[in-house]
């Protein structure tokens, strides 16, 4: 993992003290709210419905056990005993006192964490796919490049006041697990025909009220040019992005208005013109950062674990867990374990301090002290020996952390919604809980197969409803909650924005409506191997619409 050097340490510590002074001046009245609000937002402190909310950055979703323990400590000492993992791999605390925030940031700094650029019109936390550094299908670990982008963009003077926020994701395998094409910039690591790795560049994707799939504007960008190319994009956006209308200010609007071909040509011109200025990455520097992410030394193991096979044969719960939550690792005899933060009827992405501590202990024992946060709001143990899976499962199960539902209908992405968020128009969490209970943890969910249900409590789409195979958008209609269904969205390499099925449903109706959609899929699929998205793409909206709106 990346470790802070003296510069990073001094920088973050300096920021904490600066914020401590700002908070003191706010509490004494020396600063008014108008002066203070941009300062608190730059340090991740929002004001939500019930209290302040602190969003802590988890760069590229990578955590150590020590860091997760610190998050647990903060949850207990300064909050109400839990935190919420978000769709951008961050964690949010829902109840911190403003007066405590400098102390919390100080605690975070002790474990090389901070809340810088988790808000505001700047370059936000750079995300990466959650199997980074471990996935069997990985071309190259995306995290060194995410880290390089993070260092370059931290407090970048030119990009601290962009027209709007700016989100970058880097994905390291052909399978897109980082939702690249709904980011402002998505960097997909690819290998060219000379065997060199570099990036395909996707520009101008995003969700919110104007969802757009990114355009691929370059097939292959050499690694040395990562910053120069990003800089070219940001310069154009900073200059030409709209500042007159907050809702038209993201780069996706600029790309849409200018056209992908024009913006590509403009980026290329800007890039070529300034390529030699200063931003070419020296190989030595790339190597230096990559060294921080060197794969852990894993003992050689047989590719098949007899312990796992024996347990699978006699324990169907364990077999389901392995089938659903364990992904192939690049090292033989190892697996990547997803710990679902979606227990049946639970709150997606919420983790208690006890869970965080227990998971930190398990990461230390079974996963080389490493963890990842998935944008699907789960935690991941990236380096688990297959032989340890029975032991790990036996420790997860009593904690309620062995739900075998990764990628299934109950692995629901949900934003905090109107239960917490000042922007929300409807609740998300109770809908997720009811759906989860409806489909349950048994044969039914398994029979349905891969199905991503994403729920947002407002048009800002933090719950990624546009790219859910089934998306649910919570709205407010004449003072009551209403839920609109979209179908056929996808966040992977076949990215698409879901289509609106029709009129919205009441809170009472929505779970039955989703069940009708699922039942329709089960009826129309050719066989179990045809997943929901494939079936939807084959048959289109009509049968689903019929099931939703022409029921007796």
């Amino acid at each position: 993992m990346y470790r802070y050097d003296e510069f990073d340490k001094g920088f973050v510590a300096g920021r904490v003290e600066q914020f401590r002074d700002q908070v003191a001046r706010r509490l004494s009245g020396e600063l008014d709210e108008e002066q203070f609000k941009p300062l608190r937002l730059m340090n991740g402190v929002y004001l939500q419905l019930h209290a302040y909310m602190l969003r802590v950055a988890i760069p590229y979703g990578t955590l150590s056990s020590r860091q997760l323990r610190k998050l647990a400590f903060i949850a207990r000492r300064y909050d109400r005993g839990y935190g919420h993992f978000t769709t951008r791999q961050n964690i949010q605390f829902n109840w911190p006192a403003l007066a405590d925030c400098p102390d919390i940031l100080n605690e975070l700094a002790e474990v090389e964490m901070h809340a810088i650029q988790t808000s505001g019109n700047c370059i936000r936390n750079v995300t990466a796919d959650q199997f980074a550094g471990a996935g069997a299908d990985e071309i190259e670990d995306p995290r060194p490049y995410a880290e390089i982008l993070r260092q370059w963009s931290s407090l970048h003077p030119e990009y601290s006041f962009l027209p709007r926020k700016f989100k970058i994701a880097v994905n390291g395998a052909a399978k897109d697990r980082a939702a690249l094409q709904v980011h402002d910039i998505g960097y997909q690591i690819v290998r060219n025909d000379r065997g060199e790795t570099g990036f395909s560049v996707y520009l101008g994707g995003g969700q919110g009220r104007t969802p757009m799939v990114a355009h691929k504007i370059r097939d292959f960008l050499p690694k040395a040019d990562l910053l120069a190319y990003t800089n070219a994009i940001l310069r154009i956006y900073n200059l030409e992005g709209r500042r007159d209308n907050k809702y038209r200010a993201r780069i996706k609007i600029l790309v849409h208005e200018k056209g992908a071909e024009d913006i590509r040509a403009e980026v290329e011109r800007e890039f070529v013109e300034h390529r030699e200025d200063a931003l070419t990455l020296p190989q030595a520097e790339i190597d230096r950062i990559r060294a921080y992410f060197a794969p852990p030394v894993l003992a050689k193991r047989a590719p098949i674990s007899t312990a796992v096979e024996a347990r699978k044969a006699k324990d169907s719960a364990f077999a389901r867990f392995v089938a659903q939550n364990v992904a192939p690792h690049k090292a033989p005899g190892y697996g990547i374990v997803t710990i679902s933060l979606k227990p049946i009827g639970g709150i997606p992405g919420d983790a208690s301090a006890e869970w965080m501590e227990a998971i930190a202990d398990l990461a230390e024992t079974y996963s080389q002290d490493e963890l990842r946060v998935a944008h699907e709001q789960n935690l991941v143990l990236p380096h688990v020996a297959l032989d340890d899976l029975p032991l790990l499962f036996d420790r997860l199960a009593p904690l309620g952390l062995a739900t075998a539902n990764t990628g299934l209908v109950t692995d629901i992405i949900a934003c905090p919604g109107l239960d917490y968020c000042a922007l929300a128009t409807a609740r998300s969490i109770p809908i997720a809980q009811r759906l989860s209970e409806r489909f349950g943890d048994g044969a039914r969910a398994e029979e349905i197969g891969e199905l991503k249900v994403n729920i947002s409590g407002c048009i800002n789409a933090c719950g990624h409803h546009h790219v859910g195979h089934i998306g649910i958008l919570g709205l407010e209609k004449s003072g009551t909650e209403a839920y609109q269904i979209t179908l056929g969205g996808s966040a992977d390499e076949t990215c698409s924005i879901g289509e609106i099925a029709g009129r919205s449903f009441s809170s009472e109706e929505i779970v039955d409506a989703i069940e009708a959609v699922v039942d329709t899929y089960l009826k129309i699929r050719t066989d179990k191997s045809e997943d929901f998205l494939t079936a939807y793409r084959r048959v289109g909206m009509d049968p689903f619409k019929e099931a939703l709106y022409e029921r007796g």
Binding site: F73, L98, A353, W355
Partner: protein, 103 residues
């Protein structure tokens, strides 16, 4: 429609309501009720002064109804603001005393 004046407390952000004696209270049920638009405006003005005195943030008027159970906010948003999240968010394992890291 009766009204109350709400805000968030500056130091900890917690939702508060202006009480009969002008202090800020956490319970909607104990808030001072303004029967008319004009009265609510006066309440809001007092609240704005408290915002200037750095006690609270973003004061606004909340429409309420009175019934046997007492006062409750009319809109769902304000009802959730008053009562807290509608979900059982308390971790199942329970909140325990902070473990001291340095000990």
């Amino acid at each position: 429609m009766p009204k109350v004046v709400s805000a968030n407390r500056l130091a900890d952000g917690i939702v508060v309501y202006i009480g009969p004696d002008g202090t800020w209270l956490e319970a909607l049920g104990k808030a001072k009720i303004f029967e008319t638009e004009a009265e609510a405006e006066t309440g809001l003005l007092a609240a704005s002064n408290d915002a200037k005195r750095n006690l609270i943030l973003d004061p606004f008027v909340v429409e309420v109804v009175r019934d046997e159970a007492g006062l409750s906010a009319v809109s769902l948003r304000n009802a959730i603001r008053a009562r807290g999240p509608t979900i059982d968010f308390t971790p199942r394992t329970g909140i325990q005393t902070a473990r001291t890291e340095r000990s």
